[in-house]
Symmetry: C2
Subunit: 471 residues, 2 copies
């Protein structure tokens, strides 16, 4: 049986790609033919990742085949893209986060938080976000974190408070918790290099223009605006989109019951906890001890396998990891080639000229606004980061923005721009399709919170990084 494919969805990427390809003769001076053709293929692939005639991985494979077939990139160089250290960090962390789910440690942590902090609805929300925050540094799939660990808990919590979309009781508590978790997850994603798949990508793209970001740089720089957002945003949502149930005296009992059902910590959970803390320590001290973050992730996986927390089959059936490895490596390879073939440097110069004479703070604001609002056109944070990060960073540096400030700020907004649509990143469609939040509310509230992120992270973030001596 042939798979059903909606071939109409190929039209848009194909037409754009073909037009760009054949516009080569009138391409701007200073752009090589190979660079221009790479652009045509890249743009078509990115559009294909948005219109999705096939899943993103399959689109990437097609783009890969065309790139090499038409001679833009040699096969050995193209395949070398699968050996990218940043991407294997993500792959490894997918496996590590499987340990949280398999052992039940993730669930236990959540239940403990609810038990301790969950007397009022707002406290419950903070406690849930606290769980997300704890898991974030080791869970670069924010989708796995929101969808795999947090959502099942939020769903069963809401049900236990009699809040279900099918009964039109979603506003009792479920809407608030679901939307709050979406934002908590977005903020925690922005706070750690290892908390979202596109963050190490940003690091790797920054390196290609000679800006080195360590895990610790990212963490320190994001600390103050991150904590500020984690405190303020749930409260803003509580005010703008209040739950009908404000007190949750039963939550403690609810989680107590579930915890007693879970019994004492099992050896697998204990090993998971020990190995996770070890990984966390190595990630934090990595730049001091000269231990690479990817190596730390490999060590953690080796320990999880050696202790028997995970078996090899858990690894092989972790489809998310293999999926990410494939499409992500290909997009990064293409974005890198676009840079190496000279298109990105040309584009940066071109925009720089337009922004000429403006002071760098204004340039930074313009770039962040452009980056943020163009996300309405993207169905994947990663696709957007790979498409624009390098070019915008180049423009920023040319305009005199301190390189590390620009690199980190663009890194943060590669997460924060999720505050736009219901297809903005991985967690969005999962949490949205639960039905707790209407599309209108989702777009409206995200619109408001988006402004909050832009203002607070630009001002507070720049100030804090200045104080820390980043620039």
């Amino acid at each position: 049986m042939l798979e059903k494919i909606n071939y109409k969805k190929f039209i848009f990427p194909l037409v754009v790609g073909v037009i760009l390809w054949f516009l080569a003769p009138i391409r701007p001076a200073g752009v090589d033919l190979a660079a221009w053709r790479m652009l045509a293929i890249f743009v078509a692939t990115i559009i294909g990742c948005v219109t999705k005639p096939l899943p993103i991985g399959a689109v990437a494979i097609v783009g890969f085949a065309i790139t090499v077939m038409t001679g833009e990139v040699k096969i050995d160089d193209a395949v070398a893209g699968f050996g990218n250290s940043s991407i294997w960090l993500i792959v490894m962390a997918f496996f590590i986060s499987r340990g949280f789910i398999k052992t039940g440690l993730g669930k236990r942590i959540a239940l403990v938080f609810v038990k301790i902090f969950g007397k009022k609805t707002l406290g419950l929300m903070y406690s849930l976000i606290g769980v997300d925050l704890i898991l974030a540094p080791a869970t670069p799939s924010n989708t796995a974190r929101a969808g795999g660990i947090m959502f099942p808990i939020i769903n069963s919590l809401s049900h236990s408070f009699g809040s279900k979309p099918e009964d039109h009781t979603e506003r009792k508590i479920g809407s608030f918790l679901t939307f709050g978790e979406f934002h908590g997850n977005t903020i925690t994603s922005a706070m750690f290099m290892t908390a979202m798949a596109a963050n190490p990508l940003a690091q790797s793209l920054a390196k290609s223009v000679h800006v080195n970001l360590t895990w610790m740089d990212w963490f320190i720089a994001a600390l103050v605006p991150g904590i500020f957002s984690l405190i303020v945003v749930p409260f803003l949502i509580y005010k703008m989109y209040p739950p009908e149930i404000k007190e949750t005296p039963n939550a403690a009992a609810w989680s107590k019951e579930r915890l007693s059902k879970m019994g004492v910590m099992k050896p697998a959970e204990k090993w998971m906890a020990v190995i996770f803390v070890l990984a966390l320590i190595l990630w934090v001290l990595g730049s001091t001890l000269q231990i690479d973050a990817t190596l730390t992730a490999f060590i953690a996986l080796a320990l999880l396998l050696l202790t028997g927390v995970l078996n090899w089959n858990d690894i092989l059936q972790e489809k998310g990891a293999w999926n990410t490895l494939t499409w992500f490596s290909i997009l990064v390879m293409m974005a890198n080639e676009l840079n190496e073939l000279g298109f990105i440097p040309w584009l940066s110069n071109f925009i720089s000229d337009d922004l000429h004479g403006l002071s760098w703070p204004i340039v930074l604001v313009i770039l962040i606004l452009f980056y943020f609002y163009s996300h309405y056109l993207f169905a994947s944070a990663t696709a957007h980061v790979s498409a624009m990060y390098t070019a915008l960073l180049g423009v920023a540096i040319d305009a005199g923005v301190p390189p590390i400030l620009a690199a980190l700020m663009l890194g943060f907004f590669g997460n924060l721009f999720a505050s736009t649509t219901n297809y903005s990143d991985g967690p969005a469609p999962i949490l949205f399709s639960s039905g707790y939040v209407s599309q209108l509310d989702w777009w409206r509230l995200n619109g408001i919170l988006g402004v909050f992120y832009i203002v607070s992270w630009l001002i507070l973030g720049s100030l804090w990084m200045k104080i820390c001596g980043f620039y």
Copy 2:
């Protein structure tokens, strides 16, 4: 729940590795400390792949972590091993062979062969091996070919002739077909660079000592000894290990019935056939048209996805591909580092000195005998090839064996040495554990056929390659 792990099985690799590691101070002059330590880790990892305290992939991950942790290889270089073009050829071909299984085309081809050629048992055997031969160029997992496509057919054929191990009727026909397929598969694996996972590995290792093998070189050189073996070996098995049923007048009817049940070729099968033939053509003409074999495989996969023969989920759940990618890339990376750090060149010189003064044909024979019979110690053809191929090729070249002859001959025997044990490569344990062939018969018959392969491939192969002007 923690996985059960037999920790005793760590003792042997660990003890050998640790002893080697601490013998570093008395290592031979001319071997760097890093090279020696890499050797200790590599040997321990290979032994671990044989004793299997954990599946081979998990052992490789542990070896990887230790290699980088102890500073033998930098993390970026180690991870770059996952971007190896030869390995992605295998990964892609796993996906392509999934198309044969999913569409039923593999089964249909087998049934047609049986219908046409299957009047006598020996004819049936040849026809089954013919199917294996046709699939071989596009199925680098010889395990998938033998276990996924051929074995289910042989099993149901045998049952339909009333031959079952549990009834002690295995010698009726099942034993003959099973053992014959094992050898057919071994020979077809040796005939095409893309017919067994370790072949592109051999190609890649040969490249590291500046011997370039194309798909077409391999095919031409193996053609005559391959066809000769395909004709003679089934006949030898028929004489040494005869089936009780010599005539199979029902086989045609049996396959006809199954074919009529399958109905006419479905669109998915047709697309599969067209894309497979296209890939075959590109593989054959690749060196003429300057189309790399890995690129061909990517194109074929892209077409299978675009036509809807495969969906993206088929790819993600193809565990064999991801498993092979992981452990294989790591072993190859280690074997390459052993070479680059200088151990393999030193070893080659060392053995060369011992073989000094011998004429090159004698050196070639000694090396092949050593390579073949040391396979009793290996549970994986690939592990054995990665461990020894480069060193033996280096020795051969130093001793004056024409490089291309040595590279191809070692390449062929990296398949033919499967004619040893019931754990010699992937297909062996699958076909053996069906119960049709006793362990004694398996070892005894393989011992005899092993001698046949050594004699015929060395003599016929060398002559044929001379005639073709390879050297």
